[in-house]
Each structure stands twice: as structure tokens, then as C-alpha cells.
């Protein structure tokens, strides 16, 4: 009787200890999870995107498509060259612009502009786009990703800061739409 009591008391203490550790574990798990999820939660709070200047409009002659670069708004000191992102700027008629991501809408490889045939070609799987960014042929399901843009004080601004990917565009946050 006595031993049984002792056993059950010890068993209960073990259970108590396990429960205590469970609670402590859960408490520790909260900061760990928040730390791990910080790339996601940060965007929900402050967002990754902001308006960035691509420079004066004189760099982008009407009727032409030129490569432009900008520095990503969210940086770390040790990012090296990876913060400098390229994009394609098409000046349609000095009032209307299109700013395309270099990332192919298929799997993100950098597309190249060929002014002679007015096509964007992707070196990876052969996706082809017309000059307005719409899909011409190849594996992409859609046209090139476009940044929102605005013209202010003779400069071209785009809203950028996050790598465009097919899923993100489908998610409705970055469509093919543009603002004038």
C-alpha cells in the first residue's frame, strides 16, 4: 500500500514535471517561431515595397526599351551586389511607360531584350514576350511582371522591393496592371 502510494506520487510528479516542461517549451517556442517567421511578419507590418527612382526621364527615349537598375529598399550591409536589381523600362510615348521585371514569368531567369525583333527572350527555357510584355511563346503562362510606376519631377519612380514570382502575382498583390 505504502509503495503503491509512493509510486503514484512519483508518477504524478513526473507528469507534473512533463506538464511544466511542456508549458515552458510552448513559451520558448513562441519567440523561436516569431524569429523564424520574421521574413513573413515583417512584410505584413511595414511592407517590403516602396517608391524608388530609376533616374531622369531623359535616360528613357520614347519608343525604346532600356535596362535600368535600382537598389533594393530593404538591405543588409553584407548583401554585396545582390541588392542591385535590374528592370526593363519601355517608354511607349513619353507619357505612358511600362516597367518590366527582368525575371521571366516562368521560373525567374533574366530575360533579354532584342530591339531588332522587339522581343524579350529568356535563356533558360525559351520563353518569349512581345515588346508590351505579353506572352509570345514558350512555357510562361502569362506576360512579364510589371512594376507600378509614376512620373514625378522629371523622374521615373517604380514601386519595388520584392522579387516577383508567379505565385505572388497570382495571389493578387502584383498583377499585370499599371498606374499612369
Amino acid at each position: 500500500m505504502n509503495t503503491e502510494n509512493r509510486t503514484s506520487r512519483r508518477t504524478m510528479l513526473v507528469k507534473l514535471g512533463l506538464a511544466f516542461n511542456g508549458i515552458v517549451g510552448a513559451c520558448v517556442a513562441v519567440p523561436i517561431l516569431r524569429y523564424l517567421l520574421s521574413p513573413v511578419t515583417r512584410e505584413r507590418k511595414v511592407g517590403y515595397e516602396s517608391w524608388l527612382s530609376l533616374g531622369g526621364l531623359e535616360q528613357f527615349p520614347a519608343g525604346q526599351t532600356r535596362l535600368a537598375t535600382y537598389r533594393n529598399p530593404v538591405v543588409n550591409a553584407w548583401d554585396g551586389e545582390t541588392d542591385d536589381i535590374a528592370c526593363w523600362v519601355r517608354n511607349v510615348d513619353d507619357h505612358t511607360f511600362q516597367v518590366f521585371a527582368v525575371n521571366c514569368a516562368h521560373l525567374g531567369c533574366p530575360v533579354r531584350w532584342f530591339p531588332q525583333s522587339n522581343l524579350f527572350l529568356c535563356p533558360c527555357h525559351g520563353g518569349v514576350y512581345y515588346q508590351d510584355g505579353s506572352r509570345a511563346s514558350g512555357p510562361p503562362e502569362r506576360g512579364l511582371f510589371q512594376y507600378h510606376y509614376k512620373l514625378e519631377k522629371g523622374q521615373l519612380f517604380i514601386k519595388a522591393g520584392e522579387m516577383p514570382t508567379p505565385g505572388r502575382a497570382a495571389y493578387g498583390q502584383r498583377g499585370g496592371s499599371k498606374c499612369a
Binding site: 523564424l36 517567421l37 521574413p39 513573413v40 512584410e43 517590403y48 515595397e49 535596362l67 533594393n72 530593404v74 538591405v75 543588409n76 550591409a77 553584407w78 548583401d79 554585396g80 551586389e81 545582390t82 541588392d83 542591385d84 536589381i85 535590374a86 527582368v102 525575371n103 516562368h106 521560373l107 525567374g108 531567369c109 533574366p110 530575360v111 533579354r112 532584342f114 531588332q116 525583333s117 522587339n118 522581343l119 527572350l121 529568356c122 535563356p123 533558360c124 527555357h125 525559351g126 518569349v128 512581345y130 515588346q131 509570345a136 511563346s137 514558350g138 512555357p139 503562362e141 522591393g161 520584392e162 522579387m163 514570382t165 508567379p166 505565385g167 505572388r168 497570382a170 495571389y171 498583390q173
Partner: protein
Amino acid sequence: MRLIDRLGQWFNLRLPLGDPLQETMKHLVPRKSASWFYVFGSAALTVFLLQVVTGILLALIYVPSAGEAWNSLQTLNQGVSLGWFIRALHGWGSNFMVAIVLLHMVQVFLFGAYKFPRELTWIVGVFLLLMTLAMAFSGQVLRFDQDAYWGLGIGASIASRVPVIGPWSVQLMLGGPIIAGATLTRFFALHVFLIPGLLIAFVGVHLLMVLKLGINEWPMPGRIVRRSSYLQEYRELTHQQGVPFVPDALWKDILFSGFILVLIAGCAAYFGPFGPGGQPDPRIIQTAPRPDFFFLWLYALLSFLPPAAETPIMLLGPAIALTVLLILPLVAGEGEKSWRRRPIAVLSVLLIAVALGTMTRLGEYTPWSPVMNAWSGLPIPPEYLHGATSLERQGALVFQAKQCHNCHSLKGQGGQRGPALDRVALRLTHDQLIRQVIQGGGNMPAYAKNLTPAETTALVAFLETLHPPNQTPAVNASRAVALHIDAQTNSSPIRGDR
């Protein structure tokens, strides 16, 4: 000798591993299983140990920072004595590791070694395969060059297609909004801490199970595995015709492992290290990223999937393949082990091997990719212009200037994205050529907006000369008939269809 004995006793009293070690060395292996077919598992373990050692050596110099990683690899290649060789050993070791793990898996599958009671050994092995592939991919990322940078972009593009959580999983994978410093550090943590730690644990469990359950006996046609009687049969078999693991089986393992190490060292010394390629500067878009050898098949597959089916196949394909591998021993845990009585198993392996081999071969020369500098770098074969009219020569110029050559080859030179055009005039009539150029279709862009009527006329005139001299170009027979009737009724001069 006595001193060694006494030292051994001293340790064994405090660290009693002597008996289990003896037991392991002397455990009986079915005589026929002490075979050259059973050496791949131990070879994989040997290469894994090589990877651990060379990996630690590389970590002495490598800087896991997006700004410095590429430079530190250059230092390893050039600035540190034999740094290039250690890099080459690690790189070739990685390729051999994947190859040997795959061979091991095929051997285990064909010899029915995954059947009762070794189902869990197989399942743990499937996870070991996944971790090996994860190490290969994350290792390619640590070689932080252009291929690594855009390879991450491809990974992110695939991850983003997962419904609902896609965009978040991209941010988690990249450690932020873009491929940058945080991306490299998390792949470093995966490659150096997390996955190797898991690998060591899983390899330990895998080995323990092999030891406790005994090595698979040589499969004999007609010897059926039954859950009720297998353990008894295996025990009898090993007692009747078993040989001790040391030395009867071990010598083959050791010899083969040594042979593989020599091969790796030979490849490393002869071919040298992999890269790094161009600097990971996203502003440099003159690049054609390619994955490492063991992911080339995937690269090829992704170019062939039809756009509409791509996302479902990309996401469901791996899940289905993994499920099949994991439940295989559970649904086929009994029955024949010998591959001689398992034709479907043999055919499956052959089919997968041929498919992966073909895809890898295609991935090596990427016929689906445009040759980006063909239009300016590869001339039109001069014999194609002999005796050409000025209009046809003008058309050849249009062919070059409008980048047709990037996707279409002439005399084997140029892109292979579209069909070779050496005999196009035999396939398409004048009108069909015009239609194809103007409207595109069949994976060709439409050039209506990019060609003037004069350019189109010249281009088609050139294309119509592309046929063997002894064969006549395609003509529209019905049109000739129509024009003939027209000529009879109106008796007006007509222009023949070219």
C-alpha cells in the same frame, strides 16, 4: 602486445563497447550476400565521411556572406595552397554521393531488400536520399555565383506556386523579399548544421537497423517472403551458410570504398573544382543559368511541361513520387524478392533510368533555349547564298537581324528551339511561309508588328531557297489548279505560284 591488451581492458571497463563491437564484427552474413552487389551502402557512407571532412576544411576559409562568398571561393581556388583541390574533392564527392546513393537504392529495390522486416530501413533510406539531394542543392547555392543566384530564383518561382502559402514560403526560403545576404546565411545553416545533423542521425539509425535485422539474403527465385516465417528462415539461413562480416564481407566493402575515393580524387585532380561562375550580380543579365548535373533532368522537364499543366505537375509530381517511395515497402512487403520474378520492378527501374538519362542529356545541350548570340555570332552558311538574288540576300539579312537564327538552325548552327530551316521550302508553301512569319503559332512569336511588308517579302524569298537542289519547293496544288482555270476563262497572263 600486453600493454595494448591492458590499455584495451582499461578502456573497456570504463567504456564498455568491446562486446557490441565484437558482436558487430562477427555477426553472420549470408554467404552469397558477401557480394560485390552489396558494397554501395558502405561506399555511400565513406563518401559522406569524405564530404564531412572536406566540408569542415572548406569552412576554414569560406565566408557565408553574400558580399564575400564569391571572393572567398576565388581565394580558395587561387590563394590557398591546394584549396582548389579540397573544393574539387567536395564538389566531385557530392556528385559521387548522389550517384552512389541512387545505385544503392536501385540495388536494394531490385534485390527486394525493402521487404519485411526491412520496410523501415527503406523508409529511412528514402529520407536519406532526400537529404542527399537537399545537400546537393544547398551546396550549389553556397557556391554563390550566377548559377546559384538564378537557381534560387527558379526555386523561389516553384515555391511561390504552392496555393495560399506560396508567397510566404518564398519569403521564408529567401529570408526576406529578395535573394540577398539573408538567403545565403540560411542556406549555409541548412547545409552545414541542420541537414548534416539530420543525416548523421538518420545514417546511424539506418546502420543500426541493418546490423540488428541482418543484411538482406541473396534473393532466390521462388523463395517467397512471408511475415509469418521469414525471421525463422533468415535465422536458419545465416546459421547454415553464414560467414562473419569481418573479414568475409568487409574486404569487398573496403576495397570498393577505396576505389571510389581514388576515382573522386582522380576526377578532382584532373577536372578541378566547379566554378565559381560569374559574380552573383543581378545587374548582369547576360547569363544562361544552369543547374548542377543531378538537377539537369529537372531543368529539362520544366521546359517540356505544357503551361496549363505545369503548376499541378510541379507541385503534385514530387509529392506523388515521394508517397510511392514511402508506401512501397508497406504495400509490397511480402512476396518474391528476386528481380528475375519481378518484371514490373525491372521495367520501372529501366523506364526511370532511361527517362532521367534522356532528360539529363537534353539538359546538357538545352535544345529549348534560344542561342542568344546566334544572330550576331553565327553566319549564314555561304553556300546557301550562292547565286542568290539581291532580294534573297536581303532576306538573309532580315533572318539574321531579326534574331531568327537564335531559335532556328542552318546547317546545324544556331538555336534548336524551333525547327531547322535547311529544308523549310519543302514543308511550307509561299503562302504558308508568310502566314507563319506574320502570325507565328506552334511556339513561334508573331512577327507582324516587327517586320515591314518589304522585309517579310525578302525573308520569305530567302526561306524559299532553303531546299536541296534536287528537290522542288512545296507548292499549293489547288492554287495552281484555280489559277489554271482562271487562265483558261480569262486568258489573262498569270504569275505562277512560286
